[in-house]
Symmetry: C2
Subunit: 245 residues, 2 copies
Amino acid sequence: MAHTFDTIAIAHTGFKEKFGIPRQPGLAPAARGQLEILPPYDQPEAFDGLEQCSHLWLQFVFHRASSDQWRPRVRPPRLGGQKSLGVFATRAPVRPNPIGLSVVRYEGLHRREGKLWLDVSGVDLLDGTPILDIKPYVPYVDALTAAENRVASAPPTQLPIRFTPASVQACADYHTDTGIDLHALIAQVLAQDPRPRYQAPDPERRYGMRLYDRDVHWHYRQAASEQDTTWEIEVVDLVVPKDSR
Amino acid sequence: MAHTFDTIAIAHTGFKEKFGIPRQPGLAPAARGQLEILPPYDQPEAFDGLEQCSHLWLQFVFHRASSDQWRPRVRPPRLGGQKSLGVFATRAPVRPNPIGLSVVRYEGLHRREGKLWLDVSGVDLLDGTPILDIKPYVPYVDALTAAENRVASAPPTQLPIRFTPASVQACADYHTDTGIDLHALIAQVLAQDPRPRYQAPDPERRYGMRLYDRDVHWHYRQAASEQDTTWEIEVVDLVVPKDSR
């Protein structure tokens, strides 16, 4: 039996490509999003009371995942990409119905340029994500403190992040121009280590990801103070992408 | 933009009508459900790992709610049916996209009569509800202990429930015949007080709701020990519905 739903909003975020997006919401509190509420849903009274909620649920479409490609087993990046699990035991985007679920922080509702916008933070959504529903987070129902998940029991460990003086200056300039705190966002996003876990970091290689309209470049360094092989990330520079020049 | 999704499972529950269903999941832990996983999704390996999770999310269709009837403001029963809120500040079933979200407890996966069944408890789903997705509950992401919701900050107060000797016996007989603990389910469901809050209880009136294949009858009594007007429920009897005789 098929069910058809309408896009009620479009998420605008700094995540322009899948690579590097935090694998769960809330891991990067600096990741802001603006939900453009589409007509006929763009009535402020439809959101009346949401300002009394610190958090809300977004049910959305993984619009760049093809559900035709779903497989019963997937290899979550969280498990190093080597161990497989049933698709319904994961939050993987490639699944029979590509409907995502993310809890984000409510940051406000306002009208701008004739449109209604709902501001959120802690997003893990690709720019352009279609939103199907917005619901209040209800702590006494949703916050199950006794729940257990032995597959994903704790947040991933975070890498230490350093910035070169050039990249600090580039972030400061970007903040002046746009009001966007790219320094905090880069630090929080890269601390999750976007690299596929089965790949050993190559200190010679320059990595990059797009955030807003900048390419962020970084490399991996072995942390000097440790006997074990531990890694840190150094952010090298922000670059205006070639395709936008 | 329209998005079409496929039913991956059908929920079988004791809730045969909307009246009386707990207004959130988890309020009635005795409410069991069996999800009949539909082909081609009925592959046990697609669920491998879910047994390591105590709870799971169900994304489902409010199949008896008409989204054509959505209004920007709704009057949640929780607020006595008198105060209105924006539809997106509530979990009301009549909403632009009638997609529900419930967290339930994982109780097991098994094959029976050639079908794959996922057992859950704490359900608040109408019998026959189409399921769109099943996801693991991830406590470090989903259990926001610092979240606030000042519209619905605590579970509703529960009414005391008494059973007549006849109803106790009927529940015991039903348990012997079916293995279903109707006594616990009735106590937990009626403690939520299914009556619309704007209606004062009428002690003369006999109320009824269907649970599985029985009609549960009860009435309201003023609790004797209190000076204030407080109410309790007395379960009078279980009756085989006329339409099934």
